[in-house]
Subunit: 200 residues, 2 copies
């Protein structure tokens, strides 16, 4: 049985499609949108349409960009274009940038190889990465995919393709996260931290 | 520092305004909308605009309705119009309806009296409730506001206004929720359950 008018049910359904939003949350969000002051809901709708229209991918690193040109990072002459950090998603670029230490450029794969989800190498931005490296001027490619099975597999796969091109392929270090406690670290992390121990 | 293109930041900001959605969730939602197939994001935007345009309040019960006429509940001749259940929000109507036992009609206040949030009696649909009762044909008004301070205060306030009009004013029972355990019930609930004990 439908308890809300159809237009409201339609809006609830749209919200319920969002990741992590269930039926109850979708109701709450839809009712909130209805309660917005005049014009505000329209701004929300416009932001959706506008983002879809103007956001494209940077032709070099494939990160989200506005308009036709390079993204702000690729277009910045102060960034070291000889080091490419390969990430799965645009949000991983943000995670790296928030560290404020990395000065190289990025390459966004837009996913990881995942046979379970029918994502193969051809569905990712791998060809564009290879041709970037083939063009020359790249010394190091840092694999910064997630440390899970799919992220690992993708990193290994890319490393095998990249090494013959004469670049150094590296991987982010595994280990105990800063600020955590040894007793809470899982065994796999602890063993990786032991393997990767460094001379003080 | 902004890591995303402005149009995407604008969309993230819109999502971050939603209740219970933080900056991180807003990013996730905005990126999801960008990843939707062609036309789907536009449907989302349309649903927002459309809901705002066609949803109005039922002239009798003030619940959300589509178009000018009565809502489906007020327009249903099988519902008992002599019993009015007063709730704070449209979602409370759904909660009641899901019980499938109540056959009366509703009155939606669109809030509760809350001096802390500058919501006074005039900001609520109280006048419309009083004139509904004054018109006659109503035997009982059931207060179904939340059992918190503001819900209680609103129920008490309304009861004082309604009693002189010659209707029975009742309140939903307080007590132990079905399926719960006595040991987990808070003291206030337990004392109310004791006060409201019934002969078996």
């Amino acid at each position: 049985m439908e308890y809300f008018p159809p237009a409201l049910e339609a809006l609830i359904e749209q919200f319920a499609r969002l990741p992590g939003v269930g039926k109850k949350s979708a109701q709450r969000l839809a009712l909130f949108v209805l309660s917005l002051p005049e014009g505000e809901a329209e701004k929300f709708a416009e932001a959706i349409v506008n983002a879809r229209q103007v956001i494209s991918c940077c032709p070099v690193c494939q990160n989200f960009s506005e308009g036709e040109g390079l993204c702000p990072i690729c277009g910045d002459p102060k960034r070291d274009a000889s080091t490419i950090c390969v990430v799965a998603d645009p949000k991983d670029v943000i995670a790296m940038e928030q560290g404020r230490e990395y000065n190289g450029v990025y390459h966004v794969l837009h996913g990881v190889i995942s046979p379970m989800n029918h994502v193969g190498p051809d569905d990712l931005e791998i060809k564009s990465l290879l041709s970037r490296v083939e063009e020359g001027g790249v010394n190091e490619v840092i694999m910064a995919t997630d440390p899970d099975t799919e992220g690992e597999a993708t990193a290994m796969y890319l490393a095998r393709l990249l090494r013959p091109l004469g670049v150094t392929v590296t991987r982010l270090a595994y280990g105990i996260p800063i600020g955590s406690h040894l007793e809470y670290a899982d065994q796999a992390t602890l063993m990786r931290a032991l393997e990767g121990r460094q001379v003080l």
